[in-house]
Symmetry: C2
Subunit: 570 residues, 2 copies
C-alpha cells in the first residue's frame, strides 16, 4: 500500500530543528489540571513491550470475541470534485434521484482486516488493534499523518509542538476549558461568536469578554484597550483574561477571515498580556475567496489573479498554491507556544466521525492527554481506522486535492447564494451603509420594486432592506436587515421595547411560516457594544452549505417577498 | 431487513405502566449542573421538521462531500461461539496461524449505504445521517434497541427511566461526576476498586470513602456504620457522601459478584441516607459461574444444576435461562430512580468502539444530555452505525445468544487459569486461611515440593504460598501471596519498613524479569482497613482474558518457580 507519506522519525519536520522550544506556560493551568497525576503504573508500561512477555496485567478483552472480522469502505476519489465547477448547475439532482441513483463520482475502496500481515508497522491499521483499548493518543498512524499535515500546512514557529486527537472541536474546546479555566474566569471572544463554545464555559461561571470586530475579526486596538484598562474591581473581582477563544477563518457567524498582518498584531498583544490563543478552525479549508458579481469583471490585482489561476491547476503545483493562499495559522507566528489550535474532520470528511485534533505545546498536550484518559480516552477506533486508511489511501497530496475539491464545492454554493441576492434584489456596493467598520465590498440590497409610480418613472428602486459582506470563507452569509426602517420601529422604541429584537423575531417567524429557516443573529451575540453593524440592524445568519441551487433561489425570493410585506406593514 | 426488535411507541415496555415514576432527586446536582441551560433555540427546532422547509439555520456540511459512500462489515454470526467449549483446547492456534488463516467461525455481512430507500424509518441507518451532526442522544435506532434490552434484561422498578449513549464507561462516569460531584465531595467506593474511576474524581479534590467487602462486594453493615457515624468535623469538613461508585459484577480487581439479597440491603441503606448508586457494569454479561476442580463432581444443588443445564440450551429457552441466571441489576430494586447504571460495548463487542450508555431517571438523563452537548456530542457515527446494524442483524434474541457465547469463552479462559493453578500447585480448600471474610470456596495454593526429605517421607507438601477465591464473573483472579512467610518479612518490619509493599514489589519485579506481568494489588487499593485478606498478604490481579492456554500454563508455572525461589531467599 502506497501511503503517500513518510514515517517521520523527527515527527515535526526537518525545518523545526532550528526553531526555539515552547516557553514554560504551565502557570496557566487551573487547580484541577495541577492536581492531575500521571499513572502510577509507569513501571508496568516499561515491561509491557518486552518480547515474550505474558501479559496478565491489563483488563483487556480478547480480539477473538470482537464481532468485526473485516471493515470495508467505498470512498470518493481524492479528485472526485472539480476545482472549477460551473456557476449554474446543469441540472439539479432531485431528492428521488439522490436516493436511488448511486453516485456518479469516481470512487475507490479498501478493506481493513482484523489481523494485518504487518502488525508492527506503525502505519498499519488492523481491527484487532483499532477495536482494542488504545492509548488516548490514538493509533500511531494517525498522529503521524497529522504531524506531517501540521508541519507542511501551518508551519509552526517553534519546534516541540505536538498533536492530540479528540472527538471533535466541541470536545477539544471542552478539554481546553478543563485545562485552563478556573471557575469565574473572564474569556475573550469575538463580539459575535459561536454560542456552543460559550455554553461550554458558562456553567463554570466563566464570563465572555467580547472584542469588537471588522471583516478580519478581532480589532487589535480594542483588545489592547480591554487588556490594558482591565480593572479587577470594576470587573467584579474577575482577573484579567488569560484565555482567548477565536475563529479566525470564516468566523461563525460573521464570515470574517483574518489575514497574516492582523494575526501578528493580535499575537503581539496576547504575548504582552500573557493570553493563551485558542483558535477554533473548522472552516479553515473552506477559504472560498471573493465573490464576483455575475457579468462583472474580477477586480483582482494581477498578482491575486495569478495566485487564483495557480490554484486551479491540478497536481502538486496547484496543491502548493492552495496551501500558500490559505491565511496562515496563528501557529505560524507562535514563538512562545501560546496557541492551541483546534482542527476537525467534521467539515473536511464528516461531522459524524467525531474526530479532530489539537496542536499545542508539549506541556499542554501532556495535560490534555491526562484529561482524555479520564474522559473520552482515544476516539472511536472505527473513526480512527476508517479515517486513517482513507488518508493513507489518498496520501498527503491526495488529501490536499480533496480539500481543494471541498473548498470548490462550498465556493460554488456561496456563489449560488450571492447570485440569488443579485438576481432577486437591486444591489449597490455602498461604502456608506457598511456592515463592517472598514466597509469594503459591502453590499446593500434594495427592493427592485419602487415605492410609487413617481419613483418608478424616475427609474428608482425601493428602500434599502438588507446589507451584507460576501464571506471569503466558511459556510455563512451574516446579514443585517435595516430594521429601523420598519414603520413600527419608533413607536416600539418609544414604548420602551427592544424594537430591533421584537421586529427581528417577527420577521424570523414570518420567514419560517413561509418555509425558510434562518438562524437569528441574537443567538450569536457575544455581548458588549457591536462594531459590526450597529443600532437599527437586525441580524440573520444564512447557511449556504446544504440547500440546492433551486432551494437557494427559492429561499432568497421568499426572503425578498416577506421583507417587502414586512416593511409595508402598518 | 428483519431487525428482530419492535419499535416501541412506549419505549420502556408494557410492564412499566403500573410502576411508580422516579422521585425528584435534582437536589443532588452540583452547582455547574444547575447552571446549565437548555438551548435558547427551541423555537428553531420546532420549525426544523416542517415538511418543505428550506433550512439555512444550521452550520452543517453537505453529505455529498462526505467521502464515505458505503461502509461494509463482515461480522461473526451471533452463535459463532459454542456455549460449552471443551475444557482443554484441541490445538492452540499459533500467532502465525492467527495472522494468515481467515477465521473459521461463521460470519455474516452487511453494507450501509449513504442514502437508504427508507430514510424516515426510525430503524434506518444511512451514512448521510450517521456521518452528519446528530443529537447527543445518537441515532434513534440505537436507544430503541437499548431500551428494549434494559427493559427485558434489567427490568427497572420505576417507569420513566431512559437511556443515553456515551463514548464508554470512562466517559459515562466522568459525566456523572460532572453531574453530581461538588469539589471536595467524599465518594463511596469498594475497599479495592478500579483506579481509573478514582482518577476521574481525584483532580476535583474528591476523596474516596472505602467500604469493606466480602465475596459479594460491599458489606451493608460497614456502609451503614460509615453513613450513620459520619461526622463532618472528623472528616475535615466533608459532607456525608451522596455518591456511591460500585462494580457489582466481576468486581475489579477482586472478582466479587453481588447477588439480589445483598443489593436489596445496600439499596435500602442508600435510600435511607439519600445516596445515588452508580453501578459500573462492564463485566455484567461475563458472569461465568463457579469453577469446579478437574475430576471433581460439581457440588451444585439440584436446582443450581438444573439452571446451569437450562442455560446450555440453544434458542429462546436458553436465552431466558441466561437472563434469569444473571444477578439482577440495582435498577431492578430502584423504586426511587437513584441508580445510574453504566453499560458498555467494550466487553460485549469491542473496546475501541468507544460506545456505551447510561440508564437513569429522566431528570438525570436530561442534564447528562446537556453535558454531552458541550463535550462529546453523540458518539462517533461510525461506531453507532456499525454497532446498531450489527444489533439489528442479530436481533434481540441473537444478541443475547452472542453474549452467551462471549460468556462461555471467558468462562473457558477462567477455567484454564484455575486448572493451571490446580496442576501446578497443591490446592487446599481451606476455610481458615480465607481471603474473603466469609471464606467460602477459598483456595490456598501450597508448593508441591516439600520443605525437606522428612516432610517428603510423611507425604507433606511445602508451605502455603498463595490464596484466592475463583471468581464467578469478570476477567480477573485476585490473589493474596502469603508475604509474611517471607524470611525477610520480620526483619523489614522491625526496621520500620512497609515489609508487604517492599516484598510484593520485589516479587512483582522478579516475575516481570521472568516474562510474566501481573497487576500489583496496591494499585487497586481504595484506602482504609481491608476486610478482604488482611495484614501479611501481598496482592496481585491476574487477568485471564488474553493469554492462550499454553501461555496461561507457562505463566502459572513460572509464578510457582519464582515463588519457590522468593520464599527461600535469605
Amino acid at each position: 500500500m502506497d501511503t503517500g507519506f513518510e514515517i517521520a522519525t523527527e515527527p515535526r519536520g526537518e525545518a523545526s530543528a532550528s526553531l526555539p522550544q515552547a516557553k514554560d506556560l504551565s502557570h496557566h493551568f487551573n487547580q484541577t489540571t495541577k492536581n492531575r497525576e500521571a499513572s502510577t503504573l509507569k513501571e508496568l508500561y516499561r515491561y509491557a513491550g518486552v518480547p515474550g512477555m505474558i501479559t496478565m496485567a491489563g483488563g483487556i478483552p480478547h480480539p477473538e470475541v470482537f464481532p468485526f472480522e473485516t471493515l470495508s469502505a467505498t470512498i470518493l476519489a481524492h479528485d472526485a470534485f472539480p476545482l472549477d465547477p460551473p456557476r449554474v448547475p446543469k441540472k439539479g439532482k432531485s431528492l428521488i434521484e439522490w436516493l436511488f441513483s448511486p453516485t456518479s463520482l469516481p470512487t475507490t475502496s479498501f478493506t481493513i482486516p482484523k489481523w494485518s500481515p504487518k502488525p508492527v508497522d506503525p502505519k498499519t491499521i488492523q481491527l484487532s488493534t483499532s477495536l482494542q483499548y488504545q492509548a488516548a493518543t490514538g493509533p500511531p498512524a494517525l498522529p503521524l499523518f497529522l504531524r506531517e499535515y501540521v508541519s507542511k500546512v501551518y508551519k509552526p514557529a517553534y519546534s516541540d509542538w505536538d498533536v492530540l486527537v479528540n472527538v471533535g472541536n466541541t470536545d477539544g474546546w471542552s478539554k481546553i476549558i478543563n485545562l485552563l479555566a478556573e471557575k469565574g474566569d473572564a474569556i475573550l471572544v469575538e463580539e459575535w461568536t459561536y454560542p456552543s463554545a460559550v455554553n461550554s464555559f458558562l456553567p463554570y461561571e466563566c464570563k465572555t469578554v467580547p472584542i469588537k470586530m471588522d471583516k478580519e475579526g478581532m480589532l487589535p486596538e480594542h483588545l489592547e484597550k480591554v487588556l490594558s484598562e482591565w480593572n479587577e474591581e470594576e470587573r467584579g473581582g474577575k482577573k484579567r483574561p488569560h484565555i482567548m477563544y477565536t475563529i479566525p477563518t470564516g468566523q461563525n457567524p460573521t464570515g470574517a477571515t483574518m489575514e497574516a498582518e492582523r494575526k501578528k498584531q493580535l499575537y503581539k498583544i496576547c504575548s504582552k498580556y500573557d493570553v493563551i490563543i485558542c483558535e477554533d478552525e473548522p472552516y479553515y479549508c473552506l477559504y472560498t475567496g471573493e465573490w464576483t458579481p455575475k457579468g462583472s469583471k474580477s477586480d483582482k490585482s494581477i498578482l491575486a489573479q495569478r495566485r487564483a489561476d495557480a490554484e486551479k491547476k491540478e497536481g502538486s503545483e496547484g496543491n502548493q498554491a492552495f496551501i500558500k493562499n490559505l491565511p496562515p495559522s496563528y501557529l505560524h507566528f507562535d514563538v512562545d507556544g501560546r496557541v492551541i489550535r483546534m482542527d476537525t474532520f467534521s467539515k473536511t470528511s464528516a461531522p459524524g466521525s467525531r474526530l479532530g485534533w489539537i496542536t499545542a505545546n508539549p506541556q499542554f498536550i501532556e495535560r490534555l492527554t491526562r484529561i482524555s484518559e479520564t474522559s473520552t480516552q482515544a476516539p472511536s477506533g472505527f473513526a480512527t481506522a476508517l479515517t486513517t486508511v482513507m488518508l493513507q489511501k489518498w496520501g498527503f497530496e491526495g488529501y490536499i486535492r480533496w480539500l481543494r475539491g471541498v473548498k470548490a464545492t462550498y465556493n460554488m454554493r456561496k456563489t449560488w447564494m450571492c447570485d440569488a441576492f443579485e438576481d432577486v434584489f437591486h444591489l449597490e456596493f455602498d461604502q456608506n451603509k457598511s456592515l463592517f467598520p472598514d466597509g469594503s465590498k459591502t453590499i446593500t440590497c434594495y427592493s427592485k420594486t419602487p415605492k410609487n409610480k413617481w419613483d418608478e418613472k424616475k427609474g428608482l428602486h425601493g428602500p434599502a432592506l438588507v446589507t451584507f459582506t460576501p464571506p471569503t470563507a466558511g459556510m455563512f452569509v451574516f446579514l443585517g436587515v435595516h430594521i429601523s426602517e420598519h414603520p413600527d420601529y419608533d413607536k416600539l422604541t418609544r414604548k420602551g421595547e427592544d424594537a430591533t429584537h421584537v421586529l427581528v423575531q417577527k420577521l424570523w417567524t414570518e420567514l419560517a411560516d413561509n418555509l425558510v429557516l434562518f438562524a437569528p443573529g441574537w443567538y450569536f451575540d457575544g455581548g458588549g457594544e457591536h462594531a459590526i453593524g450597529g443600532k437599527g440592524y437586525g441580524y440573520f445568519r444564512l447557511s449556504f452549505s446544504i440547500a440546492t441551487y433551486e432551494e437557494t433561489y427559492k429561499a432568497i425570493r421568499t426572503f425578498s417577498q416577506v421583507l417587502e410585506k414586512f416593511f409595508k406593514t402598518k
